[in-house]
């Protein structure tokens, strides 16, 4: 087996220095820059030492996927091409990851759904692919607008699922994401989600790490399963293919491997806590009312909380950063004093509220909503109104707003 020496301190062909990731992310100077979310994805990938990126156009991730093509043309990515559909793209990503490459891709909405068969396979094959999901509607009639319904499907695949609130989250988490998902005791794919348009198409100040620093390359020989490159012994994998057998050993093998995949999700906790400073951010956990939210619903909640504060209503906030692993213990602790837990979401079914309901005691405290979907925005006023309704405070009629 080809042993890989440390690359730290060496330069890549673009003269970037392979840098200790902890130093690069936490200690190196940052430069404030005014970028769209799509441009931020490009800047993170520029520093991620990716071997392969596979692209496919679908709104609202097309710009980011095309910008990564520019990175390839500039020499920052080993290879890049446009696949023929999301199903094919995710299989191409799988092939590249099986072959020992660090792989990056992006998708959205119907693309996520079309590719879905691949995701449990990625997890089961322990491929640490990173996939950006810029969420959009998946319903009929056709919609290209923001809506986070697709995340609820990704949460059952065995992938790590993180939900970024801002472009800054995005930038940091793309780079930190590889560090977590490539750990030998994790080695799982990561779906790094954001709310399409709100994050991808708006400009924001983002503090970037130095452009001449990049992550060390991926070492496929740290994988818990063999890399398919014929550089290590081609052992016969099993005496009888388990798919053929209807017996206890076969079932037990499949069952234990599924359990192992989910155990690996759990093992990612310690790495994620270290890199992301916890799976949640919690403010004012002594408040009677807590909002629990993820993605841009966090930003809107923050605005609503500031509005209510002016009226003398004190509300706390839990920002859920990772959905898989699920921060159950953290959310229980942060909401233990709360009499009311408000869960605003950008989707019709309220998957986050369901998860929270299954997590906290006395879950009659949970108020699932407000829900917006199909591309609607979530004005802070409707969150504030929901909270006032819960508290029995008279709220002005929203329908009359501006009237």
């Amino acid at each position: 087996m080809a042993a890989q020496a440390s690359f730290i301190g060496q330069k890549n062909k673009k003269e970037q220095v392979y840098t200790d990731p902890w130093h690069m992310m936490n200690e190196a100077p940052r430069t404030p820059s005014f970028f769209t979310g799509s441009e931020v994805i490009k800047e993170a990938v520029r520093r991620a030492s990716c071997d392969i990126m596979v692209a496919y156009p679908i709104t609202p991730q097309s710009e980011a996927a095309a910008l990564c093509g520019e990175l390839f043309a500039e020499g920052y990515i080993g290879d890049y091409f446009r696949g023929e559909s999301e199903f094919a793209v995710m299989s191409q990503c799988a092939g590249a990851a099986f072959g020992g490459a660090r792989v990056f891709t992006t998708t959205a909405g119907p693309g996520t759904m079309r590719a879905m068969e691949n995701f449990p396979m990625w997890a089961g094959a322990r491929l640490p692919i990173q996939m950006i999901v810029t969420c959009r509607g998946i319903n009929s009639p056709l919609s290209i607008q923001p809506d986070t319904l697709e995340i609820s499907y990704l949460m059952q695949t065995g992938m790590l699922v993180w939900h970024a609130e801002t472009a800054q989250d995005f930038y940091d988490w793309i780079l930190k994401g590889y560090m977590v998902s490539e750990e030998p005791d994790v080695h799982l794919p990561l779906a790094l989600c954001c709310d399409g348009f709100f994050v991808t198409h708006t400009k924001d100040m983002v503090d970037l790490t130095p452009v001449d620093m990049c992550l060390p390359p991926y070492d496929p020989y740290r994988s818990p399963v063999p890399c398919m490159d014929m550089e290590c012994p081609p052992v016969r994998m099993m005496r009888d293919p388990f798919v053929m057998k209807s017996n206890y050993i076969s079932y037990a093998t499949h069952a234990s491997w599924q359990q192992e995949v989910w155990a690996a999700v759990e093992r990612s906790r310690k790495h994620t806590i270290r890199w992301m400073d916890g799976l949640i951010d919690a403010d004012d956990t002594d408040a009677d009312v807590m909002v629990v939210a993820s993605g841009t619903a966090v930003s809107q909640s923050r605005e609503a909380i500031a509005m209510l504060e002016e009226e003398g209503i004190h509300v706390g906030l839990v920002k859920v950063k990772t959905l898989r692993p699920w921060p159950g213990e953290e959310i229980r602790e942060a909401t233990k004093h709360a009499k009311h837990i408000i869960v605003p979401e950008f989707n019709v079914i309220g998957w986050l509220a369901r998860e929270v309901s299954a997590t906290v005691p006395n879950n009659e405290r949970i108020h699932a909503g407000p829900h917006v979907c199909g591309g609607m925005t979530m004005p802070p006023e409707i969150i504030a109104a929901e909270i006032k309704t819960v508290l029995g405070v008279k709220a002005p009629s929203l329908a009359g707003r501006g009237g």
Binding site: M1, D51, I52, V54, G78, D79, F81, G83, E84, S85, F87, A88, V89, S91, Q92, C93, A94, G95, A96, A97, F98, G99, G100, A101, V103, E117, N118, M121, A125, P226, M228, D229, M230, E231, C232, P233, P234, V235, R236, M237, M238, D240, P241, V243, M244
Partner: protein, 302 residues
């Protein structure tokens, strides 16, 4: 040479499975002259298989694995079906992921290996059934060819879905009565070899696996052309004796009957101009090597 990669530490040799010890001692990794004649003399790269007795697919597997020019640097990609029951027994790295996505997986794999090993040849060979290649995976089969991905696609054509119990497939003959074709298949066998040529494959062969020396030749050609020039496609008739109502010992005859000049598996070949040049070059080198060997042999005996 690659035997280094599979060598066992001396202290641990005796506790390794016998078949693995055999691989180290008697397999043909790294032997440039390996071929079907090694079967029976050397350790094969396929252990047992769990296919039906007399299944022509098992013959095809053995010939192909004996003929890969560079197994120590070859990665295979399979799909769901009878082939996926055999791959776990194969001593080259191989990937099964989903049904029908084999050419997409191979595209990513080949590019990854090219990025990671820019100075070495890493061959990628896809081996899947006709359902995977022509029906559920046709999009990805063709798109890989359009993009000129440099790997070989082998289709085991048994003209139906064998592993699920004999349902109609696109490569089934018109009129054949099967599950899901209760009144007989209503449209013609898909002409994938012609489509492969039009889609940019540089080497296309349609034949049966009745002749091991022929399989050795086309496998070597297909892998070399894919390595140097672009996509190649082999469509090999491996009849499902079970589903066409034959007995275990009748597979070979079925293939011989189907490769007669007027039949659908009469040998057909397409070679692009650049592929012709490459194959001529390789043939010239081989001739030279043989002449040299002969000279040396004569020198020794003199």
């Amino acid at each position: 040479m690659s035997k280094e990669r599979i060598k066992i530490a001396e202290e641990l040799f005796d506790i390794m499975p016998v078949e693995y010890q055999d691989l180290v001692k008697r397999a043909t990794y790294g032997n440039g002259q390996r071929g079907w004649k090694d079967i029976g003399n050397a350790k094969e790269l396929i252990e047992e298989h769990s296919l039906c007795a007399g299944c022509p697919e098992s013959m095809a597997f053995r010939y192909i694995l004996a003929s890969l020019p560079n197994p120590e640097d070859t990665v295979m990609v399979g799909s769901t079906g009878c082939t996926s029951l055999v791959f776990p027994h194969v001593a080259v790295h191989n990937i099964h992921s989903l049904f029908g996505n084999q050419n997409a997986v191979a595209s990513g794999l080949k590019r990854a290996l090219t990025v990671r090993f820019p100075d070495r040849h890493k061959d990628v060979v896809v081996l899947a059934g006709d359902g995977a290649t022509v029906d559920i995976g046709l999009d990805m089969t063709l798109q890989a060819w359009f993009r000129q991905e440099k790997f070989t696609t082998i289709c085991f054509d048994n003209e139906l879905y064998a592993n699920t119990g004999g349902q109609e497939s696109g490569l089934m003959q018109k009129g054949f009565v099967a599950k899901m074709a209760p009144v007989g298949k209503t449209f013609e066998k898909v002409r994938l070899p012609e489509i492969a040529r039009e889609s940019g494959c540089h080497y296309v062969v349609n034949c049966t696996v009745s002749k091991p020396n022929l399989i050795e030749k086309v496998i070597k050609n297909a892998v070399h052309v894919a390595r140097e020039i672009g996509p190649t496609y082999l469509q090999l008739y491996t009849p499902c004796i079970l589903e066409i109502g034959k007995n275990s010992m009748e597979g070979l005859q079925e293939m011989r009957d189907s490769e007669k000049p007027t039949e659908r598996f009469a040998y057909k070949e397409y070679v692009s101009e650049p592929a012709k040049e490459l194959l001529a070059e390789l043939a010239a080198k081989e001739k030279e090597r043989k002449a040299e060997a002969k000279k040396q042999l004569a020198g020794q005996s003199a």
